[in-house]
């Protein structure tokens, strides 16, 4: 039982990493990875939202959509759930850390449109996960996202001072670095 959960966690964090293997949630990945502090703040916010959203959407699906035979409404309901969770998170962050709220700026409401969040909610249904599995899957996806975001922001901070040829400067070298990081994560394939 425990081994199964551990395997699920490792599988989501490393092997099926949402950003670098499944290519979900690329917009915040490129957008917020310029500075390490911002990346850490964004990771924390996304982890909170992802875990909560996957749990909430599971509950909505099993207790509302399945009994009423309305499973075809899952996408729109999940978007509703995610929007509420993000809005809630924004209120909490604004209250608890106004500085983080300012630093995250527009990216905090943009978690709503982070494809990883909706992706996790829909994949939970597709893979017929139980509640605890859904929670763990969402958390694993968030940890994977955070890991990649923090690693990549550290890399971009190095790139900012590196002597990059003119045509590759800025976003171009960022894209190349992301591609190489993705290749590196392919190495985890077959681990689980």
């Amino acid at each position: 039982m425990l081994a199964e959960y551990a395997l699920l966690l490792v599988g989501t964090v490393l092997v099926n990493n949402f950003v670098l293997v499944q290519f979900l949630g690329l917009c915040p990945f490129m957008g917020v990875s310029n500075k390490l502090e911002t990346a850490i703040g964004m990771s924390a916010a996304t982890t909170f939202v992802l875990t909560l959203a996957s749990a909430c959407s599971y509950l909505t699906y099993t207790w509302l959509l399945v009994p009423l035979d309305l499973t075809y409404l899952r996408t729109i309901s999940f978007i509703l759930v995610i929007a509420v969770v993000v809005q809630f998170t924004e209120m909490v962050v604004r209250k608890s850390s106004p500085l983080l709220h300012r630093v995250l700026g527009v990216y905090l409401p943009l978690i709503t449109t982070n494809c990883a969040v909706l992706g996790v909610a829909l994949l939970n249904i597709n893979k017929a996960h139980t509640f605890s599995q859904s929670l763990l899957y969402g958390f694993g996806a968030a940890v994977g996202f955070s890991l990649v975001l923090v690693l990549f922001s550290a890399m971009r901070e190095r790139l900012a001072v590196a002597d990059v040829p003119l045509p590759f400067q800025g976003a171009a070298i960022g894209m190349i670095a992301a591609g190489l990081a993705s290749l590196a994560f392919m190495g985890f394939a077959g681990l689980v």
Partner: protein, 194 residues
């Protein structure tokens, strides 16, 4: 369940509506529960600003400028605070520090207003101009400056009809004394040459 079988569209609508109302109620509760009093970030910025209330930044005082910074204004509009304040703001807001914007004035040594009392005609115009109520006096009576309250903002100079106010340098007391730092190149280095 019969409604679901006979009127599936209506059931779907009701379900979504119920979901929307529930979530709306949660958010409504959260917005009251997590209400922020004023703007906490602006308060933090306001504490860094020198509180001269001089208006050289283009805002009526330090607090409005703090609110403007919190909304995204640049941090280098405060001449009385000087580079020290800009650095502190840059540190708080996690942005790059920048030199003082010369358009709003330049950094000067701290000053204090002094009224040459023999020439004062008691017009009270400087009292009205003073943003921190540091001038004491009444109509047709000699005025004087409470030196501890004066922020050296220069705002009383213009209204004075007889030009009897001087800005004199604030004497270095034990509260304002700074250690004299040695000049930059006390250690031999080739860094500047490279």
């Amino acid at each position: 369940m019969s409604l679901v079988d006979t009127q599936p569209v209506l059931a779907a609508l009701i379900a979504l509506l119920g979901l929307g109302i529930t979530f709306g109620a949660i958010l409504g509760f959260a917005s009251i529960r997590f209400r922020t009093e004023g703007n906490p970030l602006a308060d933090q910025i306001n504490q860094i600003l020198p509180q001269t209330q001089c208006g050289q930044c283009g805002y009526p005082g330090c607090k409005p400028y703090a609110a403007a910074i919190a909304e995204g204004d640049v941090i280098n509009k405060c001449p009385p605070g000087g580079q020290e304040t800009i650095d502190a703001l840059a540190d708080l807001l996690d942005v790059e520090s920048m030199p003082l914007d010369a358009e709003h004035g330049e950094e000067k040594a701290p000053k204090v207003a002094f009224i040459r009392e023999a020439e004062c005609i008691g017009c009270t115009k400087c009292i009205q101009a003073c943003p921190v109520d540091a001038i004491l006096g009444a109509a047709k009576v000699m005025h004087t400056v409470i030196a501890d309250e004066c922020t050296g903002c220069d705002l009383c100079l213009d209204p004075c009809p007889v030009d009897c106010i001087d800005m004199i340098e604030r004497k270095t007391g034990i509260q304002h004394w700074r250690w004299q730092l040695p000049s930059d190149n006390i250690i031999a280095t080739d860094r500047a040459a490279a």
